[in-house]
Symmetry: D3
Subunit: 136 residues, 6 copies
Amino acid sequence: MSDELFERGLEIRRAVVGAEYVDRALEGGADDFSRDFQRLVTEFCWGAGWGREEHGALSRRDRSLLNLAMIGTLNRSDEFKLHLRGALRNGCTREEIRDTLIQLAIYAGIPAGVEAFRLAREVFAAVDAESDAASA
Amino acid sequence: MSDELFERGLEIRRAVVGAEYVDRALEGGADDFSRDFQRLVTEFCWGAGWGREEHGALSRRDRSLLNLAMIGTLNRSDEFKLHLRGALRNGCTREEIRDTLIQLAIYAGIPAGVEAFRLAREVFAAVDAESDAASA
Amino acid sequence: MSDELFERGLEIRRAVVGAEYVDRALEGGADDFSRDFQRLVTEFCWGAGWGREEHGALSRRDRSLLNLAMIGTLNRSDEFKLHLRGALRNGCTREEIRDTLIQLAIYAGIPAGVEAFRLAREVFAAVDAESDAASA
Amino acid sequence: MSDELFERGLEIRRAVVGAEYVDRALEGGADDFSRDFQRLVTEFCWGAGWGREEHGALSRRDRSLLNLAMIGTLNRSDEFKLHLRGALRNGCTREEIRDTLIQLAIYAGIPAGVEAFRLAREVFAAVDAESDAASA
Amino acid sequence: MSDELFERGLEIRRAVVGAEYVDRALEGGADDFSRDFQRLVTEFCWGAGWGREEHGALSRRDRSLLNLAMIGTLNRSDEFKLHLRGALRNGCTREEIRDTLIQLAIYAGIPAGVEAFRLAREVFAAVDAESDAASA
Amino acid sequence: MSDELFERGLEIRRAVVGAEYVDRALEGGADDFSRDFQRLVTEFCWGAGWGREEHGALSRRDRSLLNLAMIGTLNRSDEFKLHLRGALRNGCTREEIRDTLIQLAIYAGIPAGVEAFRLAREVFAAVDAESDAASA
């Protein structure tokens, strides 16, 4: 594989979903079972996919909103919450997220929207609590 | 229902997917079977959904890219092609569309990406042919 | 397998989706490749599933509407059209079908609804043409 | 938006999924993030969709069974449980629900059926316990 | 229904997903609500489907890997974990499972793969703990 | 990106889905719009995914059957037909394919199975006609 692509992917992945999560995944990936998969995710999804930001067509903010729409459609709750935090890290406002989830509800159906709003409110409550704790 | 919302939705819908298509759908909707549904789509999806643009969180360009990602995930080819033309009308560049479809391939799977690229190339070829014919 | 269940399934299947279609499928099923599958569909789906009508909880009209909603959600166009004709044979009115498809659009998303209405109008036009030809 | 449609939707929504749940959702919707979405769900899904009952094509019992089939296909467990309670409120018998879920298993696949039966048994056990507690 | 098919299905089902689970499901199926469904699953899915092993085209190992790929695509976590244990009982190695899940990630999308690896590691940890306890 | 992975992927991709198709895709990929995507598919899906065959856990026959099950579940007809031809090239027998599609019908639902059998019979008829023409 390509070490350069892996390194670029690792940097973006840590910046978007959080260094702690990524390091745990890659450490967990240090066992025989997940190592190759974690490498693949980092190199292709983050290096070759998100790494396209250098071409300038889509910003991290754009990619985060696209991911919320797609992962909400695909109905993957854990990944949805992870990428919701990523969207906040990438500077998406709650207004942008709200409008994205309303668009999701219309195109993927009301149950997709109801679940997405429920998960988003959970994440926002957790983020606000962490922020309060940090500033206390 | 709300006439104001319907009118706003009608205006946006015609601007995005084309006046000819919308008028045909609403005329088709003039039979008993589809009338209420066409009204609902115009009012709900376009008036209440796309009409949120007045709040300023998402632009038409943003909504078009979100739709390509969601409709590509949902595997609805006719709607995908309709919204691809809408994306061009809304000013999305081919580079933005290409990067959105690569993101789709990674998150919704390679077959979703292969089909989306095939449909996009079909639409671009048709659009280019129409443009050549118009300028001849 | 159970011949009794197969016979009951065959009778219902022919009544709902049309004797001509079913006989062709089972004949096509006479080659080595599809025979077992056609037998399974007839016995399992039609005999054990639809054959539950003898318990009286759901009517054929109910099962047809459920199928339009599910097959529309699953995005299987050929099966959708087949079962739309089945719904008409089972006595569903166009008003019942229309309201089912509006419910589909709300819960499975607008693109699912748009496609379902398009397919339904195709089937209705074909059925009306056949009916005109028969009465001419 | 249309206040009349919202009011009609609110009344049906409270009757079907429970006043307590709906009031909490709308109160939760009183924060900036969810308010517009809750309004949209109430007005369009419940007012414009379920509110079509006044045309008489589908009963609330019909809509509940359609929803179990669709939401079971869409794999949205929380919404499924909510609408299972709604089905009971709308007068669906357990025999009708059972036959709907068997139809779901056949058309959407065995795993969809296994999960739907598991969730239904959970809801029935909870409902029975509440009923025992209330009559004690 | 066919008692012979049911008996064959029961034997295979107990061998693959575990006698304890199956007996509990069928006992649970002894109530009026689930009995017919459990019978259907055992007879058709296990008797008519898995029971085809006597024709020799696919082994139990093959069917287990196919199921992990399909159930992972369908996003049904409880069934996925059940069939992961089934795959181990059917002699699949962790290397075969790993490569199947990487194939899943590529064709059904990265979120499907991330979730499948997470569930697989959970199951392996539980199986290893049970094995340690048994040998202590 | 990695040239070695691309070259390995290219070789496998040509062997499985046919040199003519792949060369056309990559040539088509020579325009600005698809080039990067075709490179990604070749390197990621075929080089990093299928290229794992060198570890020996899954054979090409195994991967072809997994793909038919997954792509049938995902409802992507063009890709399904492409990979059905790939399965034949990889030495899968029609009996193995038949049993895989019956497994698909049970786990992903009868409509998925009906469509898969229909597509498979189309491909087999085309392949047989080509073979007759070649030997004439």
